[in-house]
Symmetry: C2
Subunit: 237 residues, 2 copies
Amino acid sequence: MQDLKAILFDTFGTVVDWRGSLITELSEFGSARGLSVDWTAFVDDWRDAYKPSMDRVRRRDVPWTILDALHRESLEMLVAKYGVTGLTEADLDHLTRGWHRLHGWPDSVAGLTRLKRKFIVAPLSNGNVALLVNMAKFAGLPWDMVFGSEIPRAYKPDPEVYLGACSMLGLAPEQVMMAAAHNYDLSAARALGMRTGFIARPTEYGPKQTKDLRAESDWDVISNSIEELAEQLGCEI
Amino acid sequence: MQDLKAILFDTFGTVVDWRGSLITELSEFGSARGLSVDWTAFVDDWRDAYKPSMDRVRRRDVPWTILDALHRESLEMLVAKYGVTGLTEADLDHLTRGWHRLHGWPDSVAGLTRLKRKFIVAPLSNGNVALLVNMAKFAGLPWDMVFGSEIPRAYKPDPEVYLGACSMLGLAPEQVMMAAAHNYDLSAARALGMRTGFIARPTEYGPKQTKDLRAESDWDVISNSIEELAEQLGCEI
C-alpha cells in the first residue's frame, strides 16, 4: 500500500452516528411539540426504509432520486404510521434535514485530520452533495472533496460509484482505499481493485446490532476507529 | 444578500497565481536541465492555448476532454514550438501537473478561512477534480466541496456549470455568489440569478495586463482580495 493516495469513506455509520443523532433530535422535537412517540423505533424504521427506497432507484423502477427526497418520502410514510399530527411543510423539511445534522463518532474528526495530512480524504456516500456538505460543516469533517451520489447518479454498491470517484481523482483503484463499517461496501470496492479498510462500529444500529459486528474478510486494514486506521497507515498525530 | 449560503470561486487567477507559479516552476526545471527557453513567453502561450482548446470541447468539435488532457496537448505543441528536446513521458506528465501545484495569492488562504466560517466555499472551475483537489492540498485551500468540470461535463460559461453546482448544494441561484477576477464569469452567473463578487487581480497576466483590470459592472461586491470580500460580507477574522 505504498502507493496509497486517497481514502474514501462511507459516512452513515462509519463516520457519523446517524442513529444516536436522530433519536436525540427527534426526541427533543417531540418534547417541544408535546408529541408522544417512540422515537427510537421511529428512527430505526426510517433507516430500514433506506435500502428498499434506494433499491427502487438502483433497479430503475423510479427515475433518479437523491437521498434527501427518499428520506422525505419515507418520513411521510412514518408520520402516518406513528400518527404524528400537526406537522407543517417546514417541519417536514426540517426533520428531513436532520440527516444533514449528524454528529461524528468521537474519533472521526481527529482521525480524519490525521489522515488528511498524508492522504486525500473524501466521503463516498449514498448521500447527496448538499446533505454531505452540510453534514461536514455541522460535524467539522475536514474533507478534501465530497463524492455525493448525484455525481455518478448511482448508488453503492453499483461499480460506477467507486470507479467514477477513482477516475475523478486521477487515480487507479489500487491507489484508493474504501473505508467502511459495512462488509458489503468493502466487498464491492475490493472486487474493483481498491484497497479496503474496515472500521468496526458495533453500536451503529444500537445495543441489539447483529450485523457488521466484525470484519468478515481479510480487509487490508481492520480497525476499531478512524484514529486507529490513521495509526495503522502511519499517520502522525 | 441576507440569505447568501455559498460562495463559488473561479480558481485560475482568482484564487491562485497560475502565471507566477508556473514561470517559477518551469524556470527551475529548465535550469536543472540546462535548457535555454523564454519560460515567461512559454507560460503565456500555454495559457493562451487554454480558451481555444476548451472552446473546441464546448462546441463539441471534440468529445468531452478534461483540462489536464487539454493542458497536455498544448504542452506538446509548445515543446515543439520552443524546440525543447529530451523530455520523457514522465517529464511531460510532471510539467502538465504543474497546474496542480499553483500557489494561492497572499490573501487566498486567510480569506477563504474567514469565509468558510459563515458560508460554504468551493471552487467552480474549468479545472478537473484531480487538478483542483491536488491544488487545494498543495496551496492549503480549505474548500468545503470541489466542483470540477467533469461533474457537469461542461465548461464555463455554459449555464449548466453554474446551475448544476447550485442544484447540488440544494440552493437557489440567489443564495449562491460567484466570485471571480473575470467579468465574463460574473456576467454569466448574474444572468442565471446568482450573486456576484469581483476580486481584482490586475497582475494575473503579468505587468502588461490589459483586461479585467477593474469591475465592468455593478457587481454585488467589488473587492481587491478574498480577505476584503470576507470583510465586506461581514465575516469575522
